[in-house]
Structures are given as structure tokens and as C-alpha cells.
Symmetry: C2
């Protein structure tokens, strides 16, 4: 098919199907759109030189190339809409250097492995997805960018959270660009449409001994107010803080939340426990479980609490009930709790609220990743409209293009201009950058 002698490739149909998928099936809409999309060839480079050879061969053949890492995305980021090559970067796992708190790594390194390598050196990841134990850093940069740690560090779109990348282009011939600071923005969360990331310079944060803590509340509003106060408590160092409607914890295997109680999950440092108890007491909550996060993460039989959070919340429900889906929303910075109450009141039955305290642009708010009883697309868009009517932004996870899906999470910069330069033929993950497709049409 392509002259890729010496490079690991496969045309095995079962493997191709597996490597052409991610977790897009959370969305019944994406499931209908993407089921059956499949690459023609799997290529698994072991280094940058092989990446360039694959790109050159695909370019010569006019074949699309779609990059993938751990395949833990939810938006079909790595689904090859027009077939061609799926380039699986999970073989490029190099942990190259860690100096002055900056890690240089290859894109296929799993995030849990980066953390395990960094922690003995005194550092940890600033941000990770709830899929930390399987996700790769390349996939997080190219198609994630938010999650645990966002309460402190914001998202990967904040200046300074991604220091640089090396990226392979689809020019003639394919070339390597080394981009730092703002110059790296054109490949930040563009699903591999603007080049194949071959190396990442990532700032870390000093490692801390996080403790997962679970707090139960008879009343959801008390839980939300407590989370909001905790988010603002600058004296308590935190990695995350999430709130769950009482209908969600019964799906959280391994966490025995008192029946009918709303749940707050947080990860704080040991020094914060005294202040947390004071704060929880103010809001009529009960601490009912706690554990060391690192120990839970290292134990395949245990569940670090972040695996109940972010996009894992929906997954925990889907494991036992396939009749639900979800949304990704951001509450307004002012009147945050009022907006939260208003949205819940609009959809008391079919929406099970789940929020994450986060920072965007240096300001605190809550993101919502509610679980939603699925009826049909029209109803889903009614719910979206309900959120918007209460001042929420939507990062729609039921669409495949960067522009439609990113909402408030879009990285600033001229990504379209960069795309035209590095992929003039439009062969990198075609169908995912709407502005480029429209520009060509």
C-alpha cells in the first residue's frame, strides 16, 4: 500500500477497527455519525524519522493521516472520517528530560507514567484527565487539555501551561517545526489537523501528597455552596473539587456514599484537613471516606477519586445504564451558584448534575458535566438551550469539528492560517477543522 519498510504497520481489520475508535459512543449522535469509520492502514512509528516517512508516503499517495494516542477522547478526535492511515503514536513513549520543572517527553507517553517518573524527582503533572491511567500526553495536548488540576492551573489553553512542541508537518517534504510559547498555540487542541506532535515541553508543578476526601450532604445546595467556598479557600491547597447529584454516587463502585446524599469529592494536601473539617462543618457535610491518591492510583484494584470525576462520571453510569449521555458546560463567573440552581430546576428529572470547580483566565467558576437521560437529539438541544438561557457556555461533545465542539475551550491564535501552511492538501485528520473545510469549499 505505502512503502513503509521497517515501520510497524498492520491491515488487520479487527485491529484497524479498534484503532479507529475512541469514547465517542458516550454520544448517541456521534455514535450514529462515526460507527463504521475505519482506517485502511495502521502505522506505529517509533521515532520522529518514522513519523516523517509515514507522512511523506501518505502525502505521495494522497492518503489522509489521523493521529491517535491512548484513544481516550470523547469527541471522535482520532476517528479517521475519510479512512487512510491511522498513525498510532503510543510507541513513542520517551521521557527525555526534566529540568527546572519542565519535562520534555514524546507524545505516546502515558500520563500516569510521566507522573510516576516525575514524582521521585519532586514534580507532578499540573493537569490530567480522569483517564490519566490510560491517556497519552500527545492526546491530551491535541484533544483534551482540561481536567484534574484545573481548579489550580486552569486549562492547557492558559499561557504557560504548554511550553513548546515539535511537530511534523504535511508539507512537501514533511518537515519538523519547533514551536515555543505562543508559537505552539496552532497545535494546541487541534486534533492532529495542524501537524503530528512528536515532542512536548510541559511545565510541571511541585509534587504533593494528595489526599482524596469524600463528603456527603443531605442537600445538594449545601454541597454546592461548600464546594464553592472550598474553591475560594486559598489556604487549602487543592487538586480538584467536584459535586454530584444524589442520583450519581450509587453508580460509583468502591465508594459507599450514604443513600440519598449529594456528594462532594476533593483532593487536598494533608495540611488542609483541619481547615476542610471546619469548612465542611459550616455546610452540614459529613466526611465519610478518604484515601491517599497516589496509593489508589498505583493499585489496579483501587479507584483514585478522580476516576469518579470529569468525563469518568458519565462512564461510571454508562457501565450500568446505556440510556444516558452528557454535556460539557461552563457556568458564568458571577452568579455561579444561582445559575446552577436554575439549570437544575429546569430539568429536575432527566438531568443529574455534576460540576467541577475550575479556573478559566484566572477566575473561578464551575464546569458542568451532567449526566442526561437520552431521549433524542431535539431534546438534547432543548437542554443545551436551557443551559445557555441561564448564562452557561457550552463545549458541545456531540459534534466532531474543533470549532463546533470547543466553545470556550478554543485556543486563541491563527490555527486556520497555520493549517494552510503545514497541511496545504488537507490530509491531516480531514473533516475535523470546519473553518478549513469551508475555506476549501
Amino acid at each position: 500500500m505505502l512503502d513503509l519498510g521497517g515501520i510497524e504497520t498492520s491491515t488487520d481489520r479487527a485491529l484497524l477497527r479498534q484503532k479507529s475508535r475512541d469514547f465517542y459512543w458516550y454520544s448517541p449522535i456521534l455514535k450514529a455519525l462515526l460507527d463504521g469509520k475505519c482506517a485502511d492502514l495502521l502505522a506505529r512509528p517509533k521515532d520522529e524519522a518514522e513519523v516523517l516517512r509515514i507522512l511523506a508516503a501518505a502525502r505521495a499517495a494522497g492518503m489522509p493521516v489521523t493521529a491517535r494516542g491512548g484513544g481516550t477522547g470523547n469527541y471522535g478526535q482520532c476517528v479517521p472520517m475519510q479512512g487512510g492511515v491511522v498513525m498510532d503514536l503510543s510507541g513513542m513513549t520517551g521521557l527525555l528530560s526534566l529540568r527546572d520543572g519542565v519535562a520534555e517527553v514524546e507524545p505516546g507517553a502515558r500520563m500516569v507514567d510521566i507522573d510516576a517518573w516525575a514524582r521521585p524527582q519532586g514534580w507532578e503533572l499540573r493537569l490530567w484527565p480522569s483517564t490519566k491511567r490510560t491517556a497519552t500526553i500527545g492526546g491530551f495536548v491535541a484533544g483534551g487539555g482540561a481536567g484534574v488540576g484545573g481548579l489550580h492551573h486552569g486549562t492547557l489553553r492558559e499561557r504557560g501551561n504548554l511550553l513548546g512542541v515539535r511537530v511534523a508537518t504535511m508539507q512537501d517534504p514533511p518537515a519538523i517545526l519547533d514551536l515555543d510559547g505562543d508559537r505552539a498555540s496552532p497545535v494546541n487542541r487541534t486534533y492532529g489537523t495542524t501537524g503530528i506532535i512528536t515532542r512536548i515541553r510541559l511545565p510541571l508543578t511541585p509534587a504533593q501528597d494528595w489526599r482524596d476526601v469524600a463528603v456527603a450532604f443531605a442537600d445538594f445546595d449545601d454541597a454546592a455552596r461548600c464546594a464553592w467556598a472550598l474553591a475560594h479557600a486559598d489556604g487549602i491547597a487543592k487538586k480538584m473539587c467536584a459535586v454530584f447529584d444524589a442520583r450519581l454516587p450509587p453508580f460509583f463502585k468502591g465508594l459507599e456514599t450514604p443513600a440519598g446524599q449529594a456528594l462532594l469529592l476533593t483532593s487536598i494536601t494533608p495540611a488542609g484537613m483541619v481547615a476542610l473539617r471546619d469548612l465542611v462543618g459550616d455546610h452540614r457535610g459529613t466526611i465519610f471516606a478518604d484515601q491517599g491518591m497516589a496509593a489508589a492510583e498505583a493499585d489496579p484494584a483501587a479507584t483514585p477519586f478522580y476516576e469518579y470525576c470529569w468525563n469518568h462520571t458519565t462512564l461510571q453510569v454508562l457501565k450500568r445504564d446505556r440510556g444516558v449521555t452528557y454535556l460539557q458546560c461552563r457556568f458564568p463567573f458571577e452568579g455561579t451558584l444561582e445559575s446552577l440552581s436554575a439549570v437544575r430546576a429546569r430539568f429536575p428529572d432527566e438531568l443529574w448534575m455534576h460540576t467541577e470547580c475550575v479556573r478559566f483566565g484566572g477566575r473561578l467558576t464551575m464546569s458542568a458535566l451532567p449526566v442526561i437521560r437520552w431521549t433524542n437529539e431535539a431534546r438534547l438541544y432543548e437542554i443545551i438551550a436551557g443551559f445557555e438561557a441561564e448564562g452557561c457556555g457550552i463545549a458541545n461533545p456531540h459534534v466532531v469539528t474543533i470549532e463546533e465542539g470547543s466553545g470556550y475551550r478554543r485556543v486563541p491564535g491563527d490555527q486556520l492560517g497555520f493549517k494552510k501552511m503545514v497541511d496545504p492538501l488537507g490530509l491531516l485528520n480531514p473533516g475535523k477543522m470546519k473553518s478549513f473545510e469551508e475555506d476549501r469549499a
Copy 2:
């Protein structure tokens, strides 16, 4: 005078005068009020048992007791308004333990020494005053509580920033109370009126390799906008960020700011330098100096940039021009930069603006510690009224009582009730807690 055999004491007049003062002379008003106030006896305990003996003897004699540490306060916190005993706690310097990021120390430990002890163990102070090299932790808890690090951690009044204290009371007989979490609030920033702090449990933060960076701007508003953007840049780890009117840097010996330029000083981690350059470039600034903070701190001939900041700004000017004083203000959370511009426009000549980016209650704003050309008290209060008219809070440094001076910095809790319990005779630093004096009258 008192039976204090075995305890270090002195009645030397020169020493008593020295130990009855702090930096209240920044304020011409406090200077007139406090000059000449002097203790009758200096006592310097070496441990908690000696503190209790001094308190018991003073109580029996009906003598006031005023505690002091490094004497670096600016509000006359340690000036004995009614004479009596000055208890100098600078001899109780024990660094007792550091576990799970919590330090337990004695009140006389200098903050620079706590940091020097903690850093090799991987930790550093969350907060320190610009007088870090001479201030004691007891004085910071009892009469400071804000400063460098406030951009990240807020002030000492934020829940979780002070984990606990041991405090000696003026009861009959004097006793030791051990207070944790919210229970310690009654001795937080009460100038030693609610007990003598004998031990402090302080949460630290992971040590980082801070770099001091100086940026010049042709235009003050550009400097302020850059600082505001930097304060919100969650991808750039920062210990401080301050802005100075172009008339201030000529007083900063050792920092050659280009003539006529406004100044931004910040301390960031090495990983933040690339992003800082991008951000400074957006605002037409020029980085003209940088240094390692720890190296500067360890060198008596060098000046860590924080010694141009916070209350040191005014000191740098006073070294060469005794005709100025200052204020302490907090800008509103919304419309912060607009309020800043409006205040400057009201007082274009006699007010040299200096702001510090800080967090209060989890929200970013700027504090102002402007240098003000002194004319008279009436004019000072006109300037205060001008700040208030533009939405600013005032923590007035020209008064001696906790209540009048603390403004937005007051720690919540029933400090008066606690005072009545632990010091029923009103012998601890009399004249400093207005509500108590009024209650007695």
C-alpha cells in the same frame, strides 16, 4: 520590680526605648502619638515556662505586658501605650518539626530562618512580609499576615493558612491554650492583646526556585494591564507581582530602572519565563533585570526584589526623603484597573502609585501601598476619602487599634469574647483593641 530571677531582663533606658518601638514612624500621625512611649522593663523569655512566669508576675503587680518580635511592624503593634513589661520573644527561636508540609515553630524564629530550614526539606513559607530577613513569625501572625505570596495564597486570615497556635493567657493563673483551625482565629492579628503566642503550626508550600524579574514600561497603564494579565495567568507560577509609578524606581538602590519608566516586579518560576516574555511583549514592556531570589536573599549586599515591594516601597523612599508617608488600600474586585486609573487621576502629583496583585477570599484584586507626599492629617483623610469614593477599602496604617486599622484585613471570629476570657484585667497590650476598651468604659 518583678520577681523574675533567672529570666533575662533589663531596665537599660536605651535598650527599653529601642525595644518599645517599631516602624510606626512611617506615619507622621503615629509618630506624634507614640514617640516617647516606653516600657519599664524588658523581659526576654527563653521558653514557655518563662513566658508564664513573666505573665504571672506582671498580673500580680498589675503591670501591662506587650509582646514583640522583630519589631518590623508599621502600626505601633508592639509599642507599650501604658508602659509596663515589653516581652521580647526573639529568644524563642525553636524550629521544632516539619511534617507533611506543616511546620511547628516558636514565635521568635525569624521568617528567613524558617525558610532556610524548610527549603532543604522541600518546603517554603507560603507568605512573608518584605521584612522577611528580620521579621519573626510571631510578629507576622500577631500583627502582619499579608505580603509576598499573597497573589497565590491570600492572607493569613484565609482558612488553612494558620493551622494552630499555643498561646499563654493572662488568666489567674496564666495558662496555655492549644488552638487549631478556626479556634486559633482569636489570636490571629490581634497584636498580642488576646494572649502571648508561644508556638505556631504553619502550613508551608513546596519550595520553588523563584526568579525575580523587572520589567519597564513607558506607560503606567500598560504596566498595570500587564500585571493584571500576569496575575490572571494561571499557567505562570508566581510569588508576587507589583507595579510602581515611574517616580518610585529612582529610590530603588541596586535596580537600574530606565529613567521615566513605570516598573513591574514579579517573582516567577523558571518554567514561566517563555510565557512571561510573550505576555510582556503584548503590553510593550521590556525585561531589563532578573536574578535568583534565594541567592539575593542569602547575600547581605544584594536586594531580593521583594524588598522593593509591599511596605518596603515606602521605606526605600523614606531612606532619602522623610517628607512622605503611605496608605494601605484594596481595589474593588470588579473594575479594578478603572478604579486604579481614577485614583491616580484624582491625585496626580502627591500620590505615587504602588500596587500589589493579591487574592482575597479566592478572588484576584490589587492592593495599593502608594507613597504620599505628606502635608497634614486633614489632607491625608481627603486622600483616603478619594480612594473610598473610587470603591477602595482602606486598612488605615495611621491608627493604633486593631479595629480601626485592619479594615478588610480583620480576621473573623469573636475576638472580643476571647479577650475577655483570657485577659479579664486588660493587661495585654492595653489600648490596642478598641472594642475591649469601649466595653470596659
